[in-house]
Symmetry: C3
Subunit: 670 residues, 3 copies
């Protein structure tokens, strides 16, 4: 399952950080001191060149790459590999001045001034030309360098541009998609409010002072932004691949960043990498933060279709959140190995050394302004490096998940943009997390996928709030269930097609669920509607549906007001499989009931675990590795796995913020 | 009292909806199915053509009206009348592209892009020309059509434009009003902060980055916007009236929409109509929502000087509020007949059929995406249609109110714009509602009028927070009281003239009230000041005045802090009448004390009613109809009216969300 | 210590108001009535001409000064002196129309329209030319007038402009400061995010749609705005001083207004004056409002290096705060004499007479819209005038403070702009106030200074949260302590240099404190970390540091979580002095412990006072005056000073909102 391109060069865990020695050119001792400290911290990889464009091309067409070669050479000599970045995350000031077209135009049609980062148009011919040139220079010089194990393309792509180039590209995108204006007018339902377009030139991107409420257009704009960003990404890779066709490339994702459908990028990366910044210690305990972070790792592992890389994380605090809380003792190691437990082959940090000035000088780093190794943070990093070495055999191993949760970008866009039952929030992400969390707590490995990924390999699929049914999804769900799968569906599903046009007539999921929703109630924060069934009383909040049953078995019914006796949770047999339906957002225990019932019926192993402890698994040809992780905020005792050997951690109990890794050899597995 | 133009064609209640079959041209079965369902739902009217401009004029000067004729014919053949709309609520995209001047300019002087609705300049010569042309085409074709019972001019007029045409029109408006710059400078008190204008060209509309704090200018801008909108409204009517001088016209108001002084429109409409979207079930019970909605109906009945039309309401939910709560069983009927109880001759919905796409596809409709009559919503609508038939004799009847509450747009503009004792809120609307609510709870019919309407017909007039005394108002109040009327005044009254210039010297209302306010205290949310009198202890909040008494009798005095022994509620004899004065915002029970005392003294009947139940009355030549409506959230028992016959509802008790209608025949009245 | 320029003309307290008779030209009786009322109210000074530009120059180059001469003459004849204002706080409409360049450009690069006040560019050549001309005219006519005791330059300078003139001036400022782009690039650490400037033209002011996160640039922009405003201020003074080199000038400051570093202005004013608008009665009692207001007075006295003027205060309410609460009986006198207690030689109001219209017509004034002296407000003003007469000997006297609190504009700018441990708020102002409050409650006179003022005269200096160490500050603190001073430092100190560049290596204050902070925790609002020491348990909130001790004595240590046993409060001997360090924001009692210990060790007198009562002192050659002021909201008893004579107030107890003034003659002081 491992990605050969990376793994053959580095058959071990990567441990390292973003590194910008060009900030310290005036401080000649810093670089050599850094090398000493990196080795001390057990680091074996650095990401260099991120945001270095002006240092690489200080004036148009004049390139200075020697300093970078020196950096890469010295790192390599010290057994530290390099992810080499293309510098396009920020452009030189001279470029903004000479070619204002490279700067983004906001939705209100204001062109930005030079500043910040990620402030450039992905369509601008000049920006593409300059990008191609600098990337080519880098590839020519470094593609064959032994120290370079991969390319870090740009940095955290995001945002959009509304300039005239982008308007033109948007229209081309739409022409290609719809063919005729007539088809577009139907898909966007423009007869409403007299919005019918009679010429392509009338079509413009959404704007706060123009069009903002045509949902089909908003959706297509988001799709276009993903498409245009991917196109730029490919444009960046091209000069590198031209010189080195096998060059491994990645670009650092941002978890479930709403602005880009990352599934569109996965065919172009050699491996998925992402930047994880959970807010530990924001609540009484870290259980929900822990399972949410796990979900993000599983999403990125699913995107990567195998191991992924943790490209950035903080060795201590961030500085851009409202409160930058210190990590409690143990949390750095737990948080780092959590990524590994979910499939990461690296633990990397932003940043190696705190910059001296500007906006991120107070962001956590392995080396602080004191410049020493005599800090708690440095020791935590060292310990993590040691742990990764001890677990080295696990690198490259994969994960087989019997279950999947569907978390779909396009559905999310449509759901949240549509004006409907609860404009404050429909809690899509939170409801998906409810289901993920129940699997997590039950120790069941899960993939996190979008609605158009193949489902054959799963026994259970949960698809909460699948408001939009993209083309083929209904059929895929039906054949998944027909072949014996167990599907969990909820309220507010099967409402619209891929263009946010409502389905007419009989609801498309009614055959599967055996139940027909008639009305949905947008509830106030304080309102509760209860349901009673075998499992006892469960509370529903935020959204509930009033439905009538066709073929389904009613597992519980509402007991309150005019919802009384209407179904709350149902179970329907569809061919060889089973479909559960939950008519609203039920409390956590209600979701856990369902997952347990579904797992038992499907023969999926449930691991009995204390609350806040999860178990994750990585598998190799020769056996498997079990990670027990404690986010409960208290010491916990759990049943040790049978015929397993404790590879990491001290036997018992599992301390607060503790992690145990057990090895189960294949021959010993029954 | 009935409006002959509408009533002679339709001597019954109208029941229907907004209908846009042009959205379904690609779905050929829909129109005929709609006709079947309309009849089933007891509908007898549809509003067509709203937002249909592009369908009517798909390119400049080319009109397509055949489809509309077909729609009107088929409706007519099925005994369904039509309100025919002018399509100016939204303009075609081709027009925005060819003539950008039709698009609005915001206060920040940004010209909008094409999009949304209500996004056009009322002054633009091009927009006026295009409007005249399309309205004329519609009038030529349909003015004589038997199926068309009235014209629905545009849709929910609102907003303003700051383009150069509007700037010029604003200056003309001011020149006409003030004659000289000198007069304007005095009225706006421009010497303050060196704002004196020395040329008309210096005068511009308010702007966030320009002038925003000259209250006289802000007021005149609001007046200008009303004036210019009315002028555009007249411009829309002209081509219709040219062809059909008696054509009945209306335009749908939005309750007490702050942006337009609807009193300026009433001379130009044949009947007032409005769109009512109360937020039922947002609180523990619906009492305050119920009485606020009643107040809005009474305002519109007062504007209409007789029956009005409920032009829009939702058959189920809206989709633009933070939470779209379903109506509880019974609420749809109660809410529909509430309009009738207050003088509506129709119950109409937005919308007949849910659109398939765009921003209102999830807004409630009689027919949902399932397309059937098998829903709770459809049955509720059917039941309402049946009820309207049963009550048919009431259509056209009027209301005689012995009391009035003054709720004045210009006062509201001035009060809320002025920087003063409480910039967070002075609660003008809420304070007016306090008084309205006390009448409502006492079963006393009330008109809701502005301060320049005639007062002779009333026994009691409440004029809360009459901060601005418009020309003639002082005199009108004095002669109302002089002739025996009872007037209720409160704190923060008689402060400024029509230009927000403070009255100097002795306060203008002191003769009436017999009390002189000296200082007003802007209290914090949590602060309470109590007063003691015969009625016991009452609490005052938000604003209280420290005053001294001249001739008034003190009914209660403050007991707290340095307000101790200063008057809280007073009563003054003025010639043949009485003036009550309340020196702050008193709790609800305090207002009810006053209304009861005033009603008893004035010989106005008080109906004893359980809390949350109101009684409203409509009168004909032959008798009257009494509507008992229960908003309390619980079953209630009330004393049945004597010598009356129960026309609607099951006798006793009055169920939750219940409504009873009794008929009292004239000969049986004492 | 007195300012001779003012004091020799007016060897008594000034009492008066802003006065704009030009607003009342149409009301011929008002002016003479005003003169009568002014004398009745014991007023002896008026500020005239503020915002009078259009009245003075109604068209370009045509000046009308006769009306002003008449005003000044009549006031003078009635023994009322004048502060004569330059009118530049607002410009005539004709000027904005003819020369749009005089209008400000916002950070988003939008040029304002005419309107409001303070809406002009300080760099604009035209604005400077027009300013020079009108100021010269005023000086020519009035500089020698006996009635004019001083010049009130403009009004409440503030805000910034981003026009091209200002961009050019900013670049000149930077060229002068840095010499080379290379130096600027280093100071702003532009290598980060590829921000390196390669041409001066690339440098622009901060913008929301451009650069906003380069902290060094943000800081320099704030410095530039101060510099440019001061330059304009000097430009305003020039024509006056040319004609009358000794003309006393002032400009009214706004407390600790964040936008301007007032320390840069003090060399150019003859005396500091400021506008004080505390929000009395916003809490359960007025203790914190009282001590904060005291701190502002002490700041302005420190800026003035002797007596200052209270240029504006409200005689009753303001109208621009969320709630305009009336002053309780006694509060007007207390609040007015509080200024005197802290060094003011005047009590002046905005405004004499309420304007009739526009945005401040509801702001408190000595004379209201009723136009009479028969109001509580007028009597309060009269009483204050009487009190000032009774205390006349105190005018001109000074204050000797044994302690200082450092409250530094540049530190504040840097602290609040930096993204760091708590982006919601680091509570700089509040933490400084904690320390000030402890001195205030202990009756210890304090100077409030910035970090570059001389420290030699103090025994105790508190420098809370001294995040930025400006050049020379470390050395100044060290020599202050070395010579025996006691220094109180806290968390988050000594982090960056004057350009917000972090100090590298050993923390710069470690020698002084004997303790090294390692990590800082940004805590949630609800979080508490406790420390235990001799004084008992103290609670820390918001920010705490995890540190290790070098040479310091640990006075208390944290007891919670992974901070357990790390130092909370320490004491270090440095040469002949002492340094206290507090590793976080401790509750009020914790700061008071420290101030008491420091005062006792330093031999500074602590006055035992009931909570909410403070004692302030003014000193003359012949003795001193002690002001006891009660902000506790309740009557209080205190130990009377020995050998002192009660000059003002009735002996005992000190009533709610009460003030006592005692005189201690020098020969009687021990």
């Amino acid at each position: 399952m491992a990605h050969p391109l990376f793994h053959e060069k580095t058959p071990y865990f990567l441990h390292g950080a973003d590194y910008n020695p060009e900030q310290w050119k005036r401080y000649p001792d810093v670089f050599e001191e850094d090398l000493r400290l990196m080795k001390k911290a057990q680091c074996n990889v650095m990401s260099v060149g991120i945001f270095s464009w002006t240092e690489l091309e200080p004036e148009e067409g004049r390139y200075e790459l020697d300093w970078l070669e020196e950096v890469i050479n010295r790192l390599h000599e010290n057994d530290i590999s390099v992810f080499l970045a293309t510098p396009t995350g920020a452009r030189p000031a001279w470029m903004s001045r000479k070619y204002p077209e490279v700067l983004r135009v906001q939705a209100d049609r204001t062109r930005n001034l030079h500043g910040l980062r990620h402030n450039h148009c992905f369509t601008s011919p000049v920006y593409r030309e300059k990008t191609e040139a600098v990337n080519r220079k880098l590839a020519e010089r470094f593609a064959a360098h032994q120290g370079v194990i991969g390319w870090h393309i740009s940095n955290e792509y995001g945002g959009d541009c509304h300039c005239n180039y982008c308007q033109e590209a948007f229209r081309s995108f739409l022409k290609k998609k719809y063919g005729t204006l007539d088809a577009l007018n139907h898909a966007w339902w423009t007869t409403f409010w007299s919005h019918t377009y009679t010429s392509w030139e009338e079509v413009e991107s959404p704007a706060p002072h123009g069009e903002s409420m045509v949902h089909g257009m908003n959706l297509d704009w988001k799709r276009f932004v993903t498409e245009q960003t991917r196109d730029f990404f490919r444009h960046e890779i091209q000069p590198i691949r031209k010189i080195s066709p096998q060059a491994p490339v990645t670009t650092n994702f941002m978890g479930d960043y709403e602005g880009l459908n990352y599934w569109k990028f996965v065919d172009d990366v050699s491996i998925v990498s992402w930047d994880s910044y959970p807010l530990w210690h924001q609540r009484e305990n870290d259980i929900l933060t822990g399972s949410w972070t796990s979900m993000m790792h599983d999403l990125n592992r699913s995107l990567s279709r195998g191991p992924f890389l943790l490209m950035e994380s903080t060795p201590s605090v961030t500085n851009w959140q409202p409160h930058s809380k210190l990590k409690e003792p143990g949390m750095h190691l737990l948080s780092s190995l959590q990524a590994v437990a979910h499939g990461s082959d690296s633990v990397q940090y932003f940043q190696w050394r705190k910059s001296r000035g500007s906006s991120e000088k107070l962001h956590g780093a392995v080396v602080g302004h004191d410049g020493t190794e005599h800090t708690r943070v440095f020791r935590d990093v060292q310990d993590t490096g040691e742990a990764l070495k001890a677990l080295s055999d696990i690198a490259g191993s994969g994960t087989k998940a019997p279950a999947a949760v569907i978390y779909d970008w396009e559905n999310r866009w449509a759901l949240k943009d549509a004006q409907g039952p609860r404009n404050e929030s429909v809690f899509y992400e939170e409801t998906v997390h409810d289901y993920y969390h129940a699997f997590w707590q039950a120790g069941i490995p899960v993939d996190v996928i979008d609605s158009v990924q193949p489902l054959q390999s799963y026994k259970i699929v949960a698809a909460p709030m699948l408001y939009m049914l993209r083309p083929g999804v209904k059929e895929a769900l039906e054949s998944f269930v027909a072949e014996g799968g167990t599907l969990l569906l909820t309220h507010w599903s099967g409402v619209v097609d891929e263009n946010d046009l409502a389905f007419l007539g009989r609801p498309p999921l009614a055959d599967l669920t055996g139940i027909v929703p008639e009305e949905i109630d947008g509830m106030y924060e304080s309102q509760i509607r209860r349901a009673a069934g075998k499992g006892g009383i469960r509370e529903f909040r935020y959204l509930t549906e009033r439905s009538h049953v066709e073929s389904a078995e009613v597992l519980s019914s509402f007991t309150d007001d005019f919802f009384r006796d209407h179904p709350a949770v149902t179970r329907n047999n569809f061919k060889n499989g089973t479909v559960y339906y939950t008519a609203g957002r039920v409390e956590s225990a209600g979701v856990q009931d369902l997952i347990h019932q579904a797992a038992e019926e499907s023969g999926v192993e449930i691991v009995p675990l204390p609350e806040g402890v999860t178990r994750q698994k990585r598998e190799t040809d020769t056996g498997s590795y079990l990670f027990y992780m404690n986010f409960s905020g208290e010491e916990q005792v759990y049943s040790h796995p049978e015929k397993a050997e404790l590879l990491f951690g001290s036997r018992c109990p599992l301390e607060k913020h503790g992690i145990h890794v057990w090895q189960v050899r294949k021959e010993e597995q029954k």
